[in-house]
């Protein structure tokens, strides 16, 4: 039996990688290692539909011919021996694909908080979402610390459930990823839906339930002594390759992107995980194609779908091209586009950005 291709990470990027390997006709053994006990599922509904109504987040993967090693956490990597450490076990690989993703940044005081009273929730996994949903069903008020994507979506979901919601951030605007111009618009949206905003200064809030939405941290601690370069994601080349037999995909991946003038970027969004998982797998099988897809992401807050393409974090300022289309500018170049309830316009902007990135 040859050593298997091992995929570490059983979420979207890992799943799409495994599917791409089989689709390419590779019939050797494939092992997918996942820290969570669940088969792959989709995370976007966890902060939205799953909280305020119903959602079935499972992803179709039943007929995939791979060995699932779920509830199994990778603890180390020996590149020279081509061995993955799973606690006391060593798993030899022929080629390795790292897709361990990110986790929610913990609330700094979490360890000292009593679980039954004053628990601070974070949201990343299905189990986090189910626990938060249960808590919200017994609560009348919610405080959300951190007004980024997850914080804003949780606030909107809780308003749909009829809770009193306070959204807190040290930044002067929500959604800082989209710059101050669009942040103002997001703030107005939340105010119009009855959310109390406490922004730009320390705030004291009393609420039944508290959610800390402080961003995400790449899961790379297990690679600390491996010799791979961490910054803080795993540094790869344009082919998503980190080392001779190692490729990466998804939130954990730092790779040079043409839209960023070849600087490293790391993307924590659904579409990147899906596309990059498949692309990294194809490169692992020998198809050396640079990965230069234009990042796409969205957020649903109340009745507004905000969509973005490109690299908003690289924009120096945002300018409105139309009332529902904002362009992120770096010098005189467009590096990102953001639309409000205008999917078709976003599509057009995305195509233009792809031409620049090509």
């Amino acid at each position: 039996m040859p050593d298997p291709i091992v995929i570490v990470g059983a979420s979207l990027a890992g799943l799409r990688a495994a599917q791409a390997i089989r689709k390419a006709g590779h019939d050797g053994p494939v092992v997918v290692v996942g820290a969570e006990p669940h088969l792959p599922y989709t995370r976007p509904p966890l902060s939205k539909e799953l909280l305020h109504s119903e959602a079935e987040p499972a992803l179709a993967c039943d007929d995939l011919d791979v060995e699932w090693r779920l509830g199994t956490t990778a603890t180390g990597l020996d590149l020279a021996r081509r061995e993955l450490e799973l606690g006391d076990e060593r798993l030899r690989y022929d080629r390795l694909l790292i897709a361990t993703g990110t986790r929610a940044r913990p609330w700094p005081g979490a360890a000292s908080r009593d679980d039954a009273h004053g628990r601070v929730f974070t949201l990343r996994d299905l189990d986090d979402a189910l626990a938060l949903k249960a808590a919200l069903s017994r609560a009348t008020s919610l405080a959300v610390i951190g007004a980024g994507f997850i914080g804003c979506e949780v606030a909107a979901s809780a308003r749909k459930l009829g809770l009193e919601v306070t959204l807190v951030d040290i930044a002067p605007q929500p959604m800082t990823a989209l710059g101050p111009e669009l942040g103002t618009r997001c703030a107005e949206l939340h105010r119009a839906h009855g959310v109390r905003l406490k922004l730009g200064a320390p705030a004291q809030v009393d609420a039944d339930v508290t959610v800390a939405a402080l961003g995400a941290i790449p899961n790379t601690e297990w690679l600390r002594n491996s010799g791979l370069t961490l910054q803080p994601g795993v540094v790869c080349d344009e082919y998503l390759q980190a080392e001779a037999h190692v490729w990466c995909a998804g939130d954990v991946t730092a790779w040079p992107h043409p839209l960023a003038d070849g600087e490293l970027i790391r993307i924590e969004h659904w579409t990147n995980a899906a596309e990059q998982g498949a692309a990294a797998a194809r490169n692992l099988l020998g198809d050396r194609t640079p990965y230069a897809a234009v990042p796409y992401f969205w957020t649903d807050q109340y009745d507004v779908k905000i969509q973005a393409a490109g690299l908003p974090h690289r924009a120096e300022r945002f300018e409105y091209a139309e009332p529902d289309v904002a362009l992120g500018m770096r010098g005189d170049r467009v590096v990102a586009a953001v639309t409000f309830n205008a999917p078709r316009k976003l599509m057009q902007q995305r195509r233009q950005l792809a031409m620049v990135a090509a």
């Binding site: 659904w270 796409y296 649903d300 078709r344």
Partner: protein, 63 residues
Amino acid sequence: MTRVIVDMNLCQSHGECVYVAEDIFELGDDDVLRWKEEIDPSRADAAREAADACPMAAIRVED
């Protein structure tokens, strides 16, 4: 012919499918998805790629 089925209760007009296979899917001026319900089998792989790209898993492809 290959059949393409979209659950419009799930579709949120992300446009991922349009981006992947614009000969099969398009967003109208009203931002509502339109698509070819029957396609040539030579485009089945493209339709499946579009189905994989859909964040809502709203697309099914049947041979």
